[in-house]
């Protein structure tokens, strides 16, 4: 009897396999008739979009299109940043009373110190303008700022860019300087209606004219692509530059306002036989940590100059 049972099992086994195969075959649907993209049409699309790219890279006529598409994307961006906003709110509301009291005490202490510094600043500013008048130099123009918040960080590992939550409707313009409470952070490179994109000073495509606060030696700080390092290029081997020197913006490019801290010199290396010293500096601004930043509006800093002035061709 047993033998018969086994043989039955073996007889059934290929049947099961066959049924399985059949089911798999049935999953294949009948082909759907579509009109495929013909090669001539593809070439048409490619030519159209390439010419669109060329126009967009060489002129400003598609700016309204860009900002209209920005309006479409705005609600989606709001939704995508909702989780982090929610977490922030939850973190704030879940703080204990003790923590809040300590924070309050610390903030009021700092406020007192800053207030005292400002008192001195007012007298120093008047003194400075008097001295400038004596020298016949033009007065420094006051600057207006607005506070912006970080919305996103560009995930591209080869570029150091961030997105902030103010845009065209708040008066942000191309080339506008951005700073945090410790120093210069970068400049605005793309403006959408409610957000804009900032190129950080550490990006490898960015350079900023600086001078040493101690003695006024000028240099150019080029981003290294790493957030915590800037390179000073074309510094003569004999220039008076030491570790720990503070570099401030010189305002020579016409893009950044004068006198804001940019970086502090970390290492100075001299190579015999080379004309320039290798100088590395650490940015003063907290490029990787700051959540709140300031956008500077000043009359010295204007819109980007026409392309014919700075494009090298």
């Amino acid at each position: 009897m047993l033998l018969v049972d086994y043989s039955l099992f073996y007889l059934h086994f290929p049947c099961i396999v066959a049924v399985r195969r059949f089911k798999k075959d049935q999953a294949i649907k009948s082909p759907v008739e579509i009109s495929p993209l013909r090669a001539s049409r593809l070439v048409g699309i490619l030519i159209l979009s390439l010419s669109l790219m060329w126009l967009d890279s060489h002129s400003q006529i598609f700016k309204p299109v860009r900002s209209a598409l920005g309006y479409v994307l705005y609600p989606l961006h709001q939704i995508s940043s909702a989780p982090s906003v929610l977490i922030d709110w939850f973190g704030d509301s879940a703080k204990s009373r003790q923590q809040l009291i300590a924070e309050n005490a610390e903030l009021s202490a700092r406020n007192l110190i800053l207030g005292q510094k400002i008192q001195r600043l007012i007298s120093l500013e008047t003194e400075n303008s008097e001295l400038r008048e004596l020298l016949g130099a033009s007065d420094r123009i006051g600057e207006r700022v607005i506070v912006v918040e970080l919305v996103a960080v560009d995930p591209d590992p080869f570029s150091q860019q961030i997105v902030i939550n103010k845009g065209l409707e708040d008066g942000v313009f191309m080339g506008q300087p951005v700073l945090d409470s410790h120093g210069l952070m970068g400049q605005v490179i793309d403006v959408l209606p409610h957000s804009s994109r900032v190129l950080l000073i550490a990006d490898s495509n960015h350079a900023i004219p600086v001078q040493i606060n101690r003695n006024g030696v000028r240099a150019i700080a080029v981003g290294s692509g790493k957030l915590n390092e800037l390179n000073l290029v074309y510094v003569p081997d004999t220039a008076d530059i030491k570790e720990g020197d503070l570099l401030v913006s010189s305002g020579l490019g016409g893009r950044y306002p004068r006198g804001y801290p940019v970086a502090s010199v970390a290492t100075v290396e001299h190579f015999p036989g080379k004309a320039f010293a290798v100088v590395k500096a650490i940015p003063s601004a907290h490029l990787d940590r700051s959540r709140h930043m300031l956008l500077v509006f000043s009359d010295k800093v204007s819109n980007v100059p026409p392309q014919s002035l700075w494009q090298v061709k």
Binding site: L37, A39, L42, L46, A152
Partner: protein
């Protein structure tokens, strides 16, 4: 039925744009799959009747504004991907998961490469090409995305 499906496709594409923009912690910054492109490819495989080449324009332009590239960069790449897909979508349907994942990897690589070529053609950019990582991450995410979207589209029917 077709209207409901179109609305669902639009909804899933919106979801893709939201996911692509999601702010991530520093240690996860390498995790950026091409969500929009993958969702587009999925609908091209499942519902080729509904997706024609006109879709390339709005999706591509929105992607360009989001990444602040020149307008049209993604359109070029999307059109090329669409052209390849329309020749092979019937084969892609009967492939198993591993084969599909491999094809998706190659498609996303070609998307990145074509948009890079277009950028070089129009303006000399000196940005290094980040080809492998987005394609690899996207290919790893693909099976789950495929399961999720196909179960949802079955329920819709």
């Amino acid at each position: 039925m077709s209207l409901r499906e179109t609305i669902f496709i639009l909804f899933s594409l919106c979801l893709g744009f939201i996911l692509q923009y999601l702010p991530l912690a520093d240690f996860m910054s390498w995790f950026v799959p091409q969500w929009v492109l993958m969702i587009f490819i999925f609908w091209q495989i499942q519902k080729p009747k509904l997706i024609n080449f006109w879709w390339v324009w709005p999706i591509g332009l929105l992607l360009d504004v989001q990444q602040s590239d020149f307008l049209g960069t993604s359109v070029v790449a999307l059109a090329c991907v669409l052209f390849v897909l329309q020749m092979m979508y019937q084969r892609l349907r009967v492939f198993n998961v591993a084969q599909q994942t491999l094809v998706i990897f190659l498609l996303i690589c070609s998307f990145e490469l074509v948009s890079y070529w277009a950028l070089i053609l129009v303006d000399d950019v000196n940005k290094p090409l980040s080809l492998w990582l987005p394609a690899l991450i996207s290919a790893l995410v693909w099976p789950w995305l495929y399961l999720l979207l196909s179960s949802m589209s079955h329920r819709l029917r």
